[in-house]
């Protein structure tokens, strides 16, 4: 039964992410991503797009593009694969932490039908890659903590390194895991274990991150140049206010779980506009903060036992990933939420699953809630596949993201 449900969820994840993925025209960012990959691998030069982000996307897209061509299939495949596998990893992680099969299935299901995640799984951008490597890194880390198999921590460090090389957001959950690993070793008064934890979760991710800069080093740079470059990149990232065509609404991370927000892109293809909008599902997203508060309350009541420690770990992952974005003074677009909301979904799934067992008719209510989430996700689905203008009932959402210069006309 469990295997059947997992299979069904994965089929849903695959279908929603792959349906007509090659027919959807490439976004400007995706075209630029292809050029950026060639630019980086052949010249060691950053840009033209997202130039201050790390370079794993370039390292992977270049051989794919050179071998299969830079069409939608080749450059979107990795994002789709990362998105699909993230669904599995999310469920697995929650099961590892809580042992609650129902919660794990609910969390995986949330991500499988989440329109924001679906939209970016269908684009050649690094956000879904980052999430995949973060989840993989945490799953392996939890495996190490539970079974004390050192190789699992090495693989975790490798995964986190690839996450860091995709986007620096991976640093936040990595820091949580590294802190826990080293603290555990210190409590055990085991210097070899502490050194190993530091090597696996600090040095190894740094090694992977550095290695992806090989084409840049070939421009003649040394170590000092690297640190100067990284400083300049971080400064540029800190003051990045977007491009003239970037949207100016929904650019505050603190709004993500308080109201529905979105991120719109459009492309002209064969004379027709294709508008894609990542729009948060209010039935899932707005439950995150209340659920987090309930979990914190539970942790305080039951502090010390294994369940509360695991829940604390989950809350720390969510907080460490979310709070830095909340306090950032520059615009933060919804893409960045992909490294945060899966932890939120795990929190919601755990709370709802736990509650459904305690309340009369709880199972039925949970099913009804899931049906509501599915219906709202399917209603939003055309936004993810470039069909925002095809369905009239989405016009209010679509018009909200019409660029300002068009609104003024």
């Amino acid at each position: 039964m469990m295997a059947a449900i997992v299979t069904a969820i994965m089929i849903v994840a695959i279908v929603l992410r792959c349906y007509h993925i090659t027919e959807q025209p490439l976004q400007d960012d995706e075209v630029s991503a292809a050029f950026t990959a060639v630019n980086y691998m052949e010249n060691g030069h950053f840009g033209p797009t997202m130039w201050f982000h790390p370079n794993l996307r370039n390292v992977v897209l270049y051989p794919l593009g050179e071998f299969f061509g830079y069409g939608p299939l080749a450059i979107r495949t990795v994002s789709a694969l990362a998105g699909i596998l993230s669904v599995l990893l999310l469920g697995l992680l929650l099961f590892q932490l809580t042992g609650d099969r129902r919660a794990a299935l609910v969390a995986a299901f949330f991500l499988a039908v989440e329109e924001v995640h679906i939209m970016f799984s269908r684009q050649a951008v690094q956000e879904t890659w980052t999430l995949f490597f973060i989840l993989l890194g945490i799953v392996l880390f939890v495996g190490y903590e539970k079974r004390d198999r050192p190789w699992l921590l090495v693989l975790s460090g490798l995964a986190f390194g690839l996450g860091l090389a995709s986007k620096l957001h991976a640093a936040f959950p990595l820091a949580v895991c590294a802190l826990i690993a080293v603290t555990t070793a210190v409590k055990e008064r085991s210097l070899p274990r502490a050194v190993f934890a530091t090597s696996a979760l600090v040095l190894l991710p740094a090694t992977v991150y550095l290695a992806t800069y090989f084409p840049w080093f070939l421009r003649g740079y040394g170590v000092g140049d690297f640190f100067l470059m990284q400083t300049n990149l971080l400064k540029a990232m800190a003051i990045h206010m977007g491009n003239p065509m970037d949207q100016t609404i929904d650019v505050r991370a603190w709004e993500w779980f308080l109201k529905p927000v979105g991120y719109g892109t459009f492309v002209l293809s064969q004379g027709k506009p294709f508008v894609s909008i990542a729009f948060t599902n209010p039935f899932a997203w707005l439950a995150v903060l209340p659920s987090a508060a309930l979990i914190v309350h539970k942790i305080r009541k039951k502090s010390g036992d294994a369940e509360s420690r695991n829940l604390l770990f989950l809350v720390l992952l969510f907080g460490a990933s979310y709070l830095p974005l909340v306090v950032l003074p520059r615009p933060v677009w919804l893409l960045s939420a992909l490294a945060v909301v899966p932890f939120g979904f795990m929190i919601v799934a755990y709370v709802f699953s736990d509650w459904s067992r305690r309340v009369r008719w709880g199972n039925n209510i949970l099913v009804i809630y899931m049906v509501i989430v599915v219906i709202s996700s399917l209603a939003l689905y055309p936004l993810a596949i470039g069909k925002a203008k095809t369905y009239h009932y989405l016009s209010d959402i679509t018009e909200r993201f019409r660029p300002e210069f068009e609104q003024r006309q």
Binding site: S32, F35, T207, L210, A211, Y221, D225
Partner: protein, 243 residues
């Protein structure tokens, strides 16, 4: 015994990971520094240093390219920065489809007298550019930095990185000798306000090593006063070249 085996495993794996990190850093640094193409350097005015005189700034870039320069520090003396940006986005056709090409090569087709140093950095000839400008020009640039966001002032020098790579703007008084021979570029426009003898002495006193000097008779705006030309010719003669 089990505990010892685990401890040994931790130590073995730690050693491996530390070695991997060190090896990676060494490989990157060695590969990077070996990709540079500096020749044996000398001081400006030394007979061993080759000198080339060209008419237009674009010929400076072409000279470096012919010599297959890569990963160099370029030291420029000019009134203008010669760093007009060619936006990569402007090179990407509207409906490029699956066709993807090398943007640096495409940018090179837009080489002109106003963007030679941009092009040098764009194509990998220069990994760092130091613009030395006359004091009057430096004063204008400093004012612009104070109102902008992307450049900053570090010990009096303007830091204006290009995609993260170092780029500096400064007057000659703040110039310090780079740790390696540079590609030295001197444009006649520099001498509108500056004396050739002063520049020559500064270069030698500061021990600026170079393995190639390129001197350009005209500025990016193609105008040039008789005073600039006279001082330029005088400077070329000091270096032992033929004006």
């Amino acid at each position: 015994m089990g505990m010892d085996a685990t401890k040994r495993k931790y130590i073995f794996l730690s050693a491996g990971l530390i070695a991997a990190f060190i090896l990676t850093v060494c490989m990157l640094v060695i590969t990077g520094t070996r990709s540079r193409t500096p020749g044996p350097g000398g001081l400006p005015g030394d007979a061993v240093v080759p000198k080339t005189v060209v008419d237009q700034p674009a010929q400076v870039y072409q000279h470096w390219k012919r010599r297959e320069q890569h990963g160099r520090v370029v030291l420029s003396f000019s009134r203008t920065l010669d760093f007009i940006d060619v936006d990569d986005h402007s090179l990407i056709p509207r409906d490029s489809g699956d066709e993807v090409f090398n943007l640096a090569q495409a940018a090179e087709s837009r080489l002109d007298d106003r963007n030679i140093l941009f092009m040098a950095m764009r194509t990998g000839i220069a990994r760092e550019v130091i613009h030395v400008v006359p004091v009057s020009v430096y004063a204008e640039k400093i004012e612009a930095v104070k109102t902008g966001r992307e450049a900053s002032i570090v010990s009096g020098k303007i830091s204006a990185p290009f995609f993260g790579s170092p780029r500096w703007i400064m007057p000659a008084s703040l110039l310090e000798a780079p740790a390696e021979p540079v590609l030295l570029y001197v444009n006649a426009s520099y001498f509108l306000d500056e004396e050739p003898g002063a520049l020559y002495r500064q270069l030698r006193d500061k021990r600026i090593l170079t393995d190639a000097i390129v001197l350009c008779r005209s500025g990016a705006d193609k105008t040039g006063t008789a005073l600039e030309r006279e001082r330029f010719n005088s400077f070329v003669a000091m270096l032992g070249g033929t004006p």
